[in-house]
Amino acid sequence: MPILHSQLMGQGQTPDGKPVQIHPAIVLQQRGPIVQVSVALQRDLAAGLVQQGLAIPQPMVGLALIDTGASNTCIDDEAARSMNLPVIDVGSMTSATHAQTPSNIYPVQIEIIGFKISFQSPRTMGAALREQGLLILLGRDLLQRCTLFYNGPTGQITLSI
C-alpha cells in the first residue's frame, strides 16, 4: 500500500536577521497540507496521441494543496493553457462574486512526487491558482480513494491509498 508521509519544514528570520527554524506545526498551519506534484496529460488521451504520432505535452511540476473542502480537483488554468491541454467540457463553479462562473475541464494525470501512485483525473476544473502559488487543488473526487491523516501538533500529514 503506497504511503506518503510528509513533514513541512520552514525557515524564518529573527528581528536581527538571523535565520531560525520554524516549527513544522506552524508551517503546516500556515501553508496547509501541500505536496509536490507532477501533472501530465491523462494516460488514455496521451496513448491516443502517441498512436497518431503526435507529441504529448511535457509534464509540469508544482505544488498541490490537499483541500478537503473542495468537491472537485482543480488545475491552474494558466498552466493548463500553457501545457496546451485539450478542453473536454465546460463546467460551472459558484464564486464569491458571481453566481456561476464557467470553467474549462481538462483530462490530466497527477503524480504526487515521492508517492508511487498516479491519479487519473479526467475531469479536472480550471481555476486561478497561480496567485496562490499552487498548480493543483486536490479535491474530494480524488481523496475518496485515500486515507488522509492530518497531525497538527507534529506538522505532519500521511496520505495512503
Binding site: Q30, G32, Q42, R43, D44, L45, A46, A47, G48, L49, Q51, Q52, L54, L65, D67, G69, A70, S71, N72, C74, N84, P86, V87, I88, D89, V90, G91, S92, M93, T94, S95, A96, P102, S103, N104, P107, Q120, P122, R123, M125, A127, L129, Q132, L134, L137, G139
Partner: protein, 92 residues
Amino acid sequence: MLDVERTYFNENREELLRMFPGKFVVVKEQRMLGAFESIQEALGAGAREFGMTPFLVRRTDQVPENVSIPALTLGLLRANTSLTTDGSGTNS
C-alpha cells in the same frame, strides 16, 4: 469553449440518453464520434480522431455538476489573521 458541441449535446440529450444510457459520448462540432463504456475509452478515441483540439466528452446521463470549492471561491486559501491591517473590518 465547446459551445457548438454543448449545444448539440443539450439539443439531443434525450435521444442520446435513450440510445446510449450510461455511456460516454464524444462530440466534435455537430458530429458524434461514438459512445463508449468508460471515459478512458472515450478520451483515447477522441485523441486518435481529433488530436489535441478540444472535443466534448460527456456521460449521457450526466446532470449539471455542483462544484463547491469554498476556500478558493471565497479567496481564503491563504487567509492569515496575523497579517493585520489598520482598516476597518466588516461590521457584523
